[in-house]
């Protein structure tokens, strides 16, 4: 039987890959040259590239402060997600009265857009007295339903006999989660970390609503502020965009193997 050549498939994938990377390349190129993005004819190869636009960004706005705020909020969101999603995911692997309704409730909550819940979320945050704080910005992102189900799927893949053996050995439920479940669910943990890090890193709407002072703003808010205040900053603007994007890309590239494995874990379960 004649084997189908693989090169057409690879060629198509290569073309699609290049098409998807062009915007990223253009942003990077503009950040290095300051060339107007509407310049015609467009230059594919950067002319006289330099890194001074990045220096400008660092000093034109309080970039370190925005970066620190983004890092703090992201760390809080990731830590909260690991704690709450793990415990919720583990609870959903148990049989208890109303479990089916809890799962249905969670699934139905996923259908409600965040914009629809902003007012109650704001009132709760205000009532807790954490408006304009890092905790307030991280609060709605401390648990995400999709990640609860990722943990649930991962925990259900752990053999029941292993948990029973641990219980017979005298391990408490907390220790079963910490010593048995989590070490066997590293892809789910990595997926949680990556997804929540990227979501909280890119969050715009909620931080915009909860922050009142400039020194509490995160990087996406800083980008909007940068756009509204500065003029003739094509290069610096795109340098800022690159600086906002790089941490998310770095986390994804570092953990893409676990990320893909975690997203597909449980996908083939019956």
């Amino acid at each position: 039987m004649r084997k189908t050549p693989t090169w057409p498939r690879h060629a198509i994938m290569l073309v699609v890959c290049v098409l998807m990377l062009i915007p990223f390349y253009w942003v990077l190129k503009t950040s290095l040259t300051g060339e107007n993005i509407y310049a015609y004819p467009p230059r594919i190869i950067p002319v006289d590239p330099h890194l001074f636009n990045y220096v400008d960004v660092w000093y034109m706005i309080p970039f370190p402060r925005y970066l620190l705020n983004s890092v703090i909020v992201t760390l809080m969101a990731v830590a909260g997600n690991l704690l709450f999603n793990t415990t919720a995911g583990y609870a959903l692997t148990k049989n208890f009265p109303g479990r089916r309704w809890v799962v249905l409730l969670l699934l139905s909550c996923m259908l409600i857009p965040f914009q629809a819940t902003i007012i109650p979320a704001y009132l709760i945050t205000s009532w807790l007295g954490v408006l304009n704080t890092h905790l307030g910005m991280a609060l709605p992102m401390l648990s995400t339903i999709i990640c609860i189900f990722i943990f649930k799927a991962s925990f259900e893949a752990v053999p029941r006999s292993l948990i029973d053996a641990a219980r017979i050995d005298g391990l408490s439920e907390w220790r079963i989660v910490l010593r048995i479940m989590l070490p066997l669910s590293k892809p789910a943990v990595a997926t949680n970390v990556i997804l929540n890090a990227i979501w909280s890193w890119n969050a715009f709407m909620w931080p915009l609503i909860t922050t009142r002072s400039a020194e509490m703003q995160t990087l996406p808010l800083g980008l909007a502020r940068f756009l509204s205040v500065m003029e003739n900053t094509t290069g610096a603007l795109y340098a800022f965009v690159v600086l906002v994007l790089v941490p998310g890309l770095a986390i994804f590239l570092m953990a893409q193997k676990e990320f893909i494995r975690g997203l597909t874990a449980g996908a083939t379960k019956g």
């Binding site: 330099h50 001074f52 220096v55 400008d56 000093y59 003029e231 770095a250 570092m254 953990a255």
Partner: protein, 130 residues
């Protein structure tokens, strides 16, 4: 993986450790370099087209404002044509020399890697000076 024992160093090869560690080392090295070189000294010389120093020339430093560059500092060259600004907490600006006969050099754009970087500017040439 245990940190102790003969395989303890292997954890440093894990990308979740190696990448942040490498970033921390680069950041630390860069900050050390900045700390050593942030004296805020911008210096240079003023010369005529033949390369002879011009004494008594005014050297102007223009700092970038929101819209354009405005004169911020001014100094005068010594007998060797040398000039120097101290305490310059800037990372971008322009310098220009005005010879005693009123002729000007080109306005030189300065872009520094960090604020107050010690910088030696290549000679400012006053083309019309005799």
């Amino acid at each position: 993986m245990s940190l102790s024992g003969s395989n303890g160093w292997l954890i440093l090869r894990h990308r979740f450790v190696a990448v942040p560690l490498a970033l921390a080392i680069v950041t630390g090295a860069w900050n050390a370099y900045v700390a050593i070189n942030d004296g805020g000294i911008i210096a240079g010389t003023v010369q005529d087209p033949a390369g002879r120093p011009i004494a008594g020339a005014d050297v102007l430093f223009f700092e970038r404002s929101m819209l354009n560059y405005v004169e911020e500092r001014r100094t005068r060259t010594d007998a060797a044509g040398a000039w120097r600004f101290d305490g310059m907490a800037v990372h971008v600006g322009q310098v220009e020399a005005i010879a005693p006969n009123g002729q000007k050099s080109e306005r030189r754009q300065l872009r520094l890697w960090f604020k107050a970087q010690n910088t030696e500017v290549t000679p400012l040439i006053v083309r019309e000076y005799r």
